[in-house]
Symmetry: C2
Subunit: 378 residues, 2 copies
């Protein structure tokens, strides 16, 4: 009965209230018992996306929701731009290439923050009308300024992957005029994985084509949702959970969630630096989703993670791609508060000591608390 | 707190043990806590499919799993055959057409049982090498003899939609040489909706092409599963539930489940006929998944269903397509036993009486019990 601690950026811990909702009896998806839940869930999604327009719901992971955007907005041979600054940017490229698109990749080093003006210029130079990007790339902890990206690309359709940022970092889909936002249930929305969601601005429908996919067809999905129906049997239990989770999020207020995540990021960075470790993710308030940390000299980060997990029951996330063995990541999205940061930092400190690393002890947690207490707007 | 009764052929009622598993804490999909569950789930799926080969797992509804077969086995312009004898046969046609296939439809009236020899001849005449069909078409209750269909189509690749039949009606994927079997979590597998599963026979891999879908890519999915990994974040809570549900099914034995479903079908038909109602689904032991019943003269079946639900909290399924208003359906797959049949029949009898229909009262339930008690092999 060793207690487990999950500090990864997805799946994230799920509140007991949401887990309990998942265990409620199955209701038929076309009956009145489900319709109430469904209507409320669709309404709450709009509030979380901060859009007056449709948020489409798919039984799928975030990648399925990403692919739906490619399926419904582009046809083979179309020239599109992808901004890539991490593992999930590369995923956009892989999906677009699978669909036979002519991909103009706007690449940044992993860990680098994309420059909106450069993106705008590249999009104009390439003459593309469809741009894919990440809000937060979970592999590096970098959060991109998608408001400025949208301003820079102008009339081009901008599709933002907000799988790990929605509900954690401000994203004003309506006010900023973002055309499409893709997300998933298992990050800041505090639910188990299995639901992909896609916000589609009203203006975007003019650019929606006949989907090549039957399952991910936006037009059929919208038509069903408009009648409070679903095109295919929806994941009723996951949707019950999502309803409860979004209720908790919205009761507290989205702005409070944004502020909490910003302060959690500050606390994590302050603790990491106090220990004498080097940050991989940017050392500023944009890093509110996940903190990526370089393993100290002589320590393989995968060995550290295995030690944390096998010896102490604590799960953090590894470095991906070229960062494997070099970086580890503390996720702090969703059902997280400052004492989770304290526990994660304490576990890292203890484990690094046990592995013989030369780090400062006893200072990380107090520094984290101090950073957390600072006013957001200094 | 009116008690609800769900007697639909999907979603079906889920055992409390499975619901409780859904409420267990979230584990990371790449950690050892999940790997044990995942390995056991993948093994149990093979037992349920009765195949030594791979069963691929997708976070999707059954329709997503169906589309994955089209994506991975055919390319635009390919000539394929679809056997259609109900709503889900029409869905195969719609998916194939969406993918630009040249569809040779082998159509039967809804309620008619497909003839394997006719199918074999049609497939040879059309010169197709890929055939899609249903095992059970839930819209009509007709179960097709897919063993004989496979014999009749010979070397052509046969893709069987067993969404509503897997675990309820004998389907020996290995022994019968079926190439591909598609199913979903929310029917006889006694889970909430959200997991699509696809059994792919070893011999079929030679015919698998480059998937046009990134999300539904069989090759990438197999490659990940071979390492006990998943291509994308899997629906860990649903998989926990599926693990428990299949454990219950296999502890009792698949053959016991097949026998129970056969007897549930007999009980439902005996009760329906005793009331003086007319069956729409075939009056034989093939009808083990869902019993489709014609509404009596002067009663709209949708009015009956609304009455059952609003007055008594009992949910049955409506007629689909041209059968709307004329037919209603009692599902008896998964977490069902004979007292559920008794409750469903009693509720129909009471409601029809309340709606003024002239039916025989008090005989349906005793007749159902009597039919249920008969030996399976008389």
């Amino acid at each position: 009965m060793e207690k487990r601690y999950l500090f990864t950026p997805g799946p994230t811990p799920v509140p007991p209230e949401v887990l309990a909702a998942m265990a409620e009896p199955i209701v038929h998806h076309r009956g009145p018992d489900f319709r109430g839940i469904y209507e409320r869930t669709l309404g709450r999604l709009k509030e979380v996306f901060r859009t007056p327009d449709d948020v489409l719901v798919f039984s799928a992971s975030g990648t399925g929701a990403m692919e739906s955007a490619v399926d419904n907005l582009a046809a083979p041979g179309d020239r599109v731009a992808v901004v890539s600054h991490g593992s999930f940017g590369d995923r956009w490229i892989a999906i677009c290439e699978r669909h036979g698109l002519d991909v103009q990749a706007i690449k940044y080093e992993w860990g680098e923050v994309p420059d909106p003006d450069e993106i705008g210029a590249a999009v104009r130079d390439a003459g593309v009308e469809l741009v894919f990007c990440q809000h937060s790339d979970t592999s590096t902890g970098v959060v991109s300024d998608v408001r400025r990206v949208k301003e820079a690309v102008g009339d081009a359709t901008l599709v933002v992957d907000a799988v790990s940022s929605l509900g954690a970092v401000p994203l004003e889909m309506g006010e900023w005029g973002i055309d499409v936002v893709v997300s998933g249930s298992q990050k800041a929305l505090m639910c188990p994985p299995g639901i992909g969601v896609v916000g589609v601005a009203a203006k975007t429908w003019d650019r929606v084509r006949q989907s090549r996919s039957f399952y991910f067809d936006w037009t059929a999905t919208k038509k069903a949702q408009d009648k409070l129906d679903a095109a295919f049997t929806p994941a009723v239990s996951l949707l019950r959970g999502l309803d409860v989770a979004m209720g908790m999020l919205l009761d507290d207020g989205l702005d409070a969630a944004f502020e909490r995540h910003l302060k959690l990021g500050r606390a994590a960075r302050a603790g990491v630096k106090a220990m004498g470790l080097e940050l991989f993710s940017p050392d500023d308030d944009s890093s509110a989703v996940v903190t990526a940390i370089r393993a100290p000299e002589g320590v393989d980060s995968d060995v550290l993670l295995k030690h944390l997990r096998d010896r102490h029951g604590v799960t953090l996330a590894p470095g991906q791609g070229a960062l494997k063995g070099k970086v580890f990541r503390i996720g702090h999205i969703g059902w997280f508060d400052v004492f989770d940061i304290a526990a994660a930092l304490a576990a890292v400190e203890l484990s690094l000591t046990e592995l013989g690393a030369d780090i400062e002890r006893g200072v990380a947690v107090p520094q984290a608390f101090e950073a957390f207490e600072q006013p957001v707007h200094a």
